[in-house]
């Protein structure tokens, strides 16, 4: 967990933490490169790299001759909010249930290592859950979790709290990646979801990052006839839409 971290990453983390904890509000001035040189005992190039990367990542804005400032970040709603499927079903007045079909701890294979931006020897938790609405399977969750980031993951009781909810409570998400595609179900998926071979499925893949590390990678499979993804939101004043 406590890996040897490069110096520039330590500086980045410190600044990000101040922003996340609200110590430095949007618009606030961030220490100059020379001040960071003093307080962290690093070279100016190292401080510069930390500030430059945070700027490229959208957290800061810099003005030559003036200083560095926390960027204004209006809230954005997204198509893919991290919604809790249990709550969602309950909200519709239906009965939620879950069946855990598999759980274990494995070593990362090459594909998983790349997905987690980690090494081959790293350990991952794996869990397969079928989520049901009124007893009918509506979502197949196939999830890998970094054991380094969330060591206590397996101790949880996922019939009472969904993995999504638990992970959100453990590690603040600061980056999300989604891929949505359509596919016909495999034999396993047909069996677990109780659907036919010709029923198309939505497949949503999500990776989430916390403090620069991949926390979890999950594949959610929805039978098309029982589920659709939906979102509706207002765009902010300045507009989140690019052409």
């Amino acid at each position: 967990m406590t890996e040897a971290q490069p110096l520039y990453a330590k500086v980045k983390d410190h600044i990000l933490a101040q922003i996340r904890n609200g110590v430095w509000e949007p618009g606030a001035r961030v220490p100059s490169e020379n001040q960071l040189v003093e307080s962290f005992s690093v070279s100016r190039m190292t401080a510069n790299r930390a500030l430059r990367e945070l700027t490229a990542e959208g957290f800061l804005s810099r003005v030559p001759g003036v200083g560095t400032f926390v960027k204004e970040t209006p809230a954005r709603s997204s198509l893919m909010e991290l919604r809790n499927i249990a709550e969602e079903i309950a909200q519709r007045g239906h009965r939620y249930s879950a069946r855990i079909m598999a759980r274990g701890e494995i070593e990362a294979n090459p594909a998983l290592a790349e997905e987690f931006e980690a090494k081959l020897s790293d350990r991952l938790f794996h869990i397969v859950i079928v989520h049901e609405e009124n007893g009918v399977p509506v979502q197949l969750e196939d999830r890998y979790v970094s054991a380094a980031v969330v060591p206590d993951f397996m101790a949880q009781d996922f019939s009472s709290m969904t993995p999504t909810a638990y992970l959100l409570a453990c590690a603040p998400v600061d980056e999300l990646e989604h891929t949505v595609e359509a596919s016909l179900p495999t034999h396993d998926q047909q069996r677990l979801l109780g659907i036919g071979a010709l029923e198309p499925c939505l497949v949503l893949r999500r990776r989430s990052w916390s403090r620069g590390a991949v926390v979890t990678a999950v594949t959610l499979t929805y039978p098309a006839s029982r589920y659709a993804l939906y979102s509706r939101y207002r765009t902010s004043e300045r507009g989140t839409l690019s052409q």
Copy 2:
């Protein structure tokens, strides 16, 4: 227009150009830092910055002790942004083309009237376009547009400017609704997209509002094998990092 460009930017541009022009295919090896030092007469730190930034931007992948390689970039579309499919395809260095399969003006039927929150007598434009990447259909666009909001819609030449781009220029979007589902293609869709009956499709439905009125309702159908929806963003950041 030829601005004074930093050296690291010149190196970046050169590498990007080779990738965009297809000189360096995905997976191909990129010159090492020391080779760039030689050919560009820069210091290794400058070459390193160029390669590091291109890696952060998703164009390259680097392996310590081995080398730097052009990253594979699968066909993906951003979920959150209203992006122009023509630009998206061009950005991948591929050829974009479009075929208009139908266009006309109709009166709203009950279903459409409800969708547009309008009256039955209201007039709507209808257009069906097949978007192609390197001559292969990748998206079927079935769009209705409010004639009241965008009276000049039909006067446009949609082989040179996509409807999305035109509508964005006409009416600022202040609300968006998305639905994503999976389905098997209808006969018409099979014919228009040139796919088989067993190829599942992603179906994205979008409604957009401007000044309280529905501007357009569109159904986009993507063959699963040729396209996936993609988004990646930082939760505290404004712009989507689509790459």
